[in-house]
Symmetry: C5
Subunit: 355 residues, 5 copies
């Protein structure tokens, strides 16, 4: 996360609308793909430039141009004049440290979302920015193109013409892409849920010492997750209720559905936060409890043996005139007294539930 | 809870409106029952399909179709075209991990609630999703059908024609079913209240060591409970004030009544949360207090006996030239001095209230 | 509190509008009193039924019917048809676990408040439900009738015709009764304030051990108090700004006055909560501080005497070849060295402020 | 604070509008002063009654009547009929435990504020109620008259005709008085700021033991301060935006200015609260740290010397058959081994950073 | 921070609109610079007075007057009548302890912002007040002029005519200056991010003792940062949506962009606060854990050796009749028993995971 913050300051002082790539650099070139379709036909091909794709717009009911890799600033700069996008939008596409947001530019809608996935090899939560631009007959999508892609299921549905997607307009495609992104959150929630359970079991089995770090790491991931998901709610609310004519009312019912999913994700995250806060609190209590246990053992041992050792010390003194030392039954008597004292203290601690 | 989350990700990538059962699987087939009634007549029977029930609609003033078991996706898929329900509603019925919500589809109202009960054998709070669909002359209710049912009292009132229920329309039936669900929350609150009292008594009697886990388990159940009940408030608010014509104004007074009950449940849950937070805090203080007690005992014993043992050590040394050792009154003098020192320290600690 | 929650579940499944007494049972019969008055005359008598009282309405400008004891469900059931009250109101009167609320039924206004008092004998905060119904020329008031009554001052003012009360309408009587209830909160605040001061003094004097329980008990009472008072604010706000014609605008100025009192009570409660939270925090710090003190004593004693005892141990060994033992000045030298070591450590700890 | 709460309950049961003095009693009689002025003339004198002052209203553009001492209930009771004030206002003037508020009675505006000052001798934050009444050509101000007065600067500006005050109307005088009150909060903030710095320096220098009490005392004063200032914001907001014609729009710009000052005070108080919460947290951490230090010393000493003492104990046993005792090099060998063991443990603890 | 608070009270009692410099005093004289420009020409020069600059207004499309140093109260006092600024604005410019705010005076807009930078030499977060005044064809900017300046990039863009700035009006210049201020926050966030990471690594490596102070210092800076940035959001919101005609709608899109940046800064600060709170909590847990470790070592050593030392004490007693002492195999037997006891305890503690 700090990597993006570091670079962010490089933009200070530049004129607005200058695209500067902020994010993890990527070696490979950007990949541009076009899917043009209507109820009957589907054209799918790779393209060299976005202009080329946009030129094909008239030929299909809906054109979906997907760009993987937003580090190619030159490509983005050419985009602005050709597509009629506001320079600020182009700047925002390149800056992959955006928070989710919706901007209505009249003829286009600009949506920023964050795709989330759990990097299994590094045990880290990762996020990737997805920029979506909706026009009357096209959708432009920009991904960082790091790893994986949640849009494959949408492509598959377009190819097989399953469901309503092929028969609907560009707004339904936008919905489908947003739905795919929000659905990816549930996978992340599953991973978090599993880890909470694992840690909870270890808490139950009282393995407290090694729990502090994983609990706090989990807590921090929850903070990042929350930051990524929370604004999506507001975004969907204003998209569903917005005045834009680009989204038809039939599609708004479906947007309400994603909205519900987002609320569900947010509430689950909040619940996990509460659960985790409880676990951390419980963890601290268990540590204190264990300290209590340790101290009780020390106190019992000390309280029993320190007085007894004192007694042995007395009869270990070398005074010449210690009449007890000569009595024949003195040694067994002292031993007996010490056993009695020790046993008495033992019983006393038992009663006090210290043992 | 994690079980449902796990399966939730299976839906990722499917077209919207595809019902997928998310929840605890159930072996038995779904059971469909129909109760058709007006002020004079009541017909009650089991049916094979929901279509069959809906066909009977015209014959009664109100038709109530109750489906137990939403795992039968085939049954649900047939439902959509027959009943005119939106495919998203059918998808939501099958997904039993919904949060309570209200959706107004013009000719139908879709309400999701969660029935709560306390599983006595496993000492766990359980919840079951109830989907209610209100049409002009019918109510469709879907339950997971796991165990028990809070609708028996409503059935009984229909059969005996007690109260206003038989004389009122479908909206009053919806109210009665929702009321039954909300009433079930009070039973859960009672169980929580009992457990809080039990734990509180143990706190009072200072049995702190074994309290950490039950307190935190209770806290977690409170979190889940809150998550289930909180959205009901908003739902009832918008139902009561909503613009739908399916709910007559006479019935809205009754919805206000359930709204009040829900607010009462929420406030009680919040109060319990505060009480529980106080108990956890008190618990931690008591543990620290006990640590103090333990340490005081250790310190008193050590402070009295360690110096005394040192004295015995001195006269246990084997130096040839230790004139005191030969004095006849040295031993009793040392013993006396040690008793005096010990007694002095004892009095000192008494004064400091350490004993 | 749990008592009422327990019984609450008995209502589950009953038709709406069925009055069921929920609360502490009371042996004695309900007492019904009527005060009918206008500027000149005042009639005051006990009545057998509420109907009898309501029949007398026309004869006075204002009729006040006070019912003590709402456990007599039969009496309440007869009330509904006679007075034109909504069955849900009658049900709510019997259920003494209501939260404060206001309901506008057009011809009547229904207000629920909670009277608070401090039970001196049991050292407990107690609350009693007061239901007030305002009609155009009457006020019906229902109390649980447990102990005491805050309405005596109002009765006295009616009898002596002091102030404006006798000259005003039923809405002013409602105001006067509500004012009496809200005034009772100040008495409870005084008791809380006294107890906070007592506990604070004990904190100041460092008597920490026995403070945990009273502090937490106080905290819990604050939680219940807050729950009772908080909704009154909202209630008064909507009564003052409401559209009801039963409350004349001249009376609304007075309602604003009670509103201000309620806000004052709420803010004082919130302030006490903050103060109490600070005291609990301070208490925990003092306990930890005391633990520190105890540990320092232990450490100082141990650190001084354990090495000294080790030295005596060395010269208490029985090796045959220990040349020091035979030196004549060895014993005083060792004694001197030990005194020097002990004194050095003592000075060291003084400097470190451990003593 | 509790003093006022105690007396507050004396009012319970009295008819509304009965002035009862609630606050710290004051021996001296109330002092009434009149300042009547317009752009050219200024009359300043002491008066016997408020009526006398109000009678002089017509003679000046603006009449300012200041009453010091609101304990004289008789004076206040005479006030109500003469000045046309609502009886509830007169009651509120006498009750010095009011929270800041604004009431619009059409021909008069009633403002309650709290003047704050730091009592240097008792090291306590004190507050005094100021009631201001604005009419079309007069301002009535009521103070408790305990000590000091923040209005002297306003009087001075009136006398010297500096600034716009003499040329403006009664609303500008109200503004000037309110501004003087709000300005007094900055003095209190300065004192708080100084004390925070002092305590912070002591925290930095690790003087933790004696910090718990002053930190919590400061926290409590912050709670009271917040309670006094917070409602002023809302009050000024509604005064600035209110519909009253008594305040001209030119004056509203100035009210916006006090509003900004109040927001600044509130934000500073909130910031101090956060800073103080951090200091308390830091304080607790330092105490725990110090406990750690103490325990480490104890553990190091014990761990080094307890095993060594055990070794001396072995060779202090009196068994007849202990061949080592007769070896000539045994004593130096044992001494050497003990030194080696002690040094080894010392190095070990150094490495573990315990020393 | 306290320095400004101290001086703030000097203003108490002065008439409104009197400029008093509140802030860090500065020796050098104020520096006034003028940049007048339109699409083609740019005039840049130093000026002696602001009046001189304002006189030049008509000659350029846009005139930007920048004043460094607001301690020169005389200069500010002359400003008010010349520029038509409200006296309260002039007073606010001199008071450098303002919170960010927006004030609309019809013909001018007054904006207060805080520039933030990290003082590398003192390791402190510093802030400087920037006052911006927008007229129809001019912008007045006032800085404290302490060190550095974030406006250089804007000047450079004006000189090189890069971007749209030279072709746009005064409102775009205002936007550019505000953008430069908000961009400076990202630099501060980077520094905070670096320090969080450094501290986090030290936490990971368990260096807990020396972390308490830097963590709390960081927390406090976060509090000040939040106080400076939070009001900017509200300010930009009302500027973007405001009714002023000074800001054209084309520029509002750009203001929305700064608004988004501010939200991003605020959310990042909030996230850092959460992260820091987690680190502090983790830190406390680690300290308690370490205490546990220390106590375990002490307890293990004591529990093993105290009983053993007691055994040696027994056989060190000088009773005449202790038959064991004469048995030849007694010494090795006792030694063996002690080794066995010690080893047994060692194994026991191993099993309990104390070692």
């Amino acid at each position: 996360m700090s990597a993006t913050i570091h670079k962010r300051s490089r933009k200070a002082g530049l004129p607005p609308g200058t695209p500067v790539h902020i994010g993890v650099p990527r070696a490979a070139a950007s990949v541009i793909t076009l899917m043009g379709y209507d109820g009957e036909n589907l054209v799918e091909r790779r393209a060299a430039t976005v202009d080329e794709c946009l030129a094909a717009r008239g030929r299909h009911a809906v054109a979906w141009v997907n760009v993987e890799g937003v580090h190619d600033v030159a490509l983005l700069e050419r985009l602005a004049p050709a597509s009629g996008l506001h320079p600020l939008v182009v700047e925002d596409i390149a800056n992959t440290a955006q928070r989710p947001k919706l901007e209505d530019y009249g003829e286009t809608l600009y949506v920023v979302l964050r795709m989330l996935y759990y990097d299994e090899s590094r045990h880290e939560l990762k996020s990737e920015q997805v920029s979506l631009i909706l026009g009357i007959d096209f959708v432009l999508s920009f991904q960082e193109g790091l790893e994986g892609d949640v849009f494959d299921a949408v492509r598959e549905r377009l190819r097989t013409a399953k469901g309503r997607l092929r028969r609907e307009g560009a707004d339904f495609l936008l919905y489908s892409l947003m739905d795919a992104v929000v659905d990816s959150y549930f996978g992340v929630l599953e991973r978090l849920s599993e880890r909470i359970e694992t840690l909870d079991e270890r808490l139950e089995r009282n393995h407290v010492a090694e729990l502090s770090r994983p609990l706090h790491r989990l807590k921090r991931e929850m903070i990042w997750l929350r930051k990524s998901v929370w604004p999506v709610r507001e975004l969907l609310m204003s998209l569903e209720r917005g005045e834009t004519t680009l989204v038809r009312s039939a599609t708004r019912v479906y947007l309400k559905d994603i909205y519900d999913h987002t609320v569900e994700v947010i509430e689950t995250v909040e619940t996990y936060r509460d659960v985790l806060a409880g676990m951390l609190e419980n963890h601290l209590t268990l540590i204190t409890n264990r300290l209590n246990e340790v101290m009780k053992v020390l106190t019992v041992i000390s309280t029993i043996f320190i007085p007894l050792t004192f007694v042995t010390g007395i009869y270990g003194m070398n005074f010449r005139h210690m009449p007890e030392l000569d009595w024949p039954w003195a040694y067994p008597a002292v031993l007996g007294a010490m056993v009695a004292l020790g046993a008495g203290l033992f019983v006393y601690f038992r009663r006090k539930k210290w043992l």
